[in-house]
């Protein structure tokens, strides 16, 4: 996807620059998504490569329990059927520990995994350029990763703003359209 598209769900990359110079610039489209293996429960782990062949939505957020985070994850919980209709898997990631995630997910009745970027702390957030230096937490950063493990779309929201899901849905649809175009026979040119 080009960075200058203005259709809903995509945006100019320069909008990701923080006027105060603090907000991270997320790993951009076209980059290979760094592999990771993180715990999703005290005795289960999830790797990005587990989902090769399908799109993955990675939603980094600063912390369990903070009001805006709750809103964002609760919203995604409700939109989950649409993500799934588009063939995508949703993974939430923060630096919280697995027991904290377990309590949070139970309280909010979340139906998707929360991954614990806990040890070494924030290693995955750093790899995705989604770490807030000094704050010790990840940005509110969204990634749509394509079937082959390449970043298709990324966005960093201001830390206090729930970015909603419009951008994710639009990116997943763009991805699906692109895939369908690639499947169609190319016109023959004489």
């Amino acid at each position: 996807m080009s960075s200058e598209k203005t259709k809903s769900g995509t945006q100019k990359q320069d909008k990701q620059l923080n006027p105060r110079g603090r907000r991270a610039v997320a790993l951009p489209p076209g980059e290979k998504a760094p592999e990771f293996t993180l715990k999703s429960t005290p005795d289960q782990a999830v790797s990005l490569s587990d989902f090769r062949g399908q799109p993955v939505v990675l939603a980094f957020y600063p912390a369990d329990w903070s009001p805006v985070c709750g809103d964002q994850m609760s919203l995604y919980n409700e939109v989950l059927p649409e993500f799934q209709n588009l063939g995508a898997e949703l993974l939430g990631i923060s630096v919280d520990g697995v027991w904290c995630h377990a309590a949070f997910a139970r309280d909010r009745k979340l139906h998707f995994p929360l991954l614990s970027d806990f040890e070494p702390k924030s290693e995955v957030a750093r790899a995705y350029h989604a770490y807030r230096e000094g704050d010790g937490v990840s940005e509110r950063a969204l990634f749509v990763i394509d079937e082959s493990g390449v970043v298709f779309w990324s966005y960093v929201s201001p830390i206090g703003v729930n970015p909603g899901a419009a951008g994710i849905l639009a990116a997943l649809e763009d991805l699906q359209n692109k895939k369908q175009q690639n499947l169609q026979p190319q016109p023959q040119h004489a």
Partner: protein, 188 residues
Amino acid sequence: MKRDISSSIEHERLALPVSRRDHIQGRLNAPITLVEYGDYECPYCGAAHPVVKAVQQALGGRLCFAFRNFPLVNMHPHAEHASEAAESAGAQERFWEMHDTLYENQDALEDEDLAEYAAALGLDARRLMAEVLSGSYHARIREDFISGVRSGVNGTPSFFINGLRYDGSYDYEPLLAALTEAGEGRRE
């Protein structure tokens, strides 16, 4: 659900224009259109309800108000049935009466309460409850919800004025001022 006051930079336009599919109060071609995405169990929506009533009163025929369902059903266990009850009342031409009743009784949204409200409004309560329990209006409620997601709704209530997301306060004076401004220069 606490509404996030600050805005997202993009996706600020209403993805699904107001049309005959919507529950509206006022004329579709009124100079000012206010759309609310709301959840009947959300306390912030409950707080906004009398404010919406008041701006409707103040603006009269200049305002068209549309309400769309945005139930956060995992967080609010009564929200889905409440939306179903409003839609079912709508099928019996009494959407707004049920809408008001639900917001005025947010602490009593059990199924038996819904049946009681239906009866009090003179509706066919048996039909309404059968529709609520079978999820007769699920597809429509989901369509409302997804239209909100695509419009950038990230919490409830979310308002759109003449198709643009309104991120200001939904206290009476600022909301009325924003609506009035949106209507300036527009003919009735």
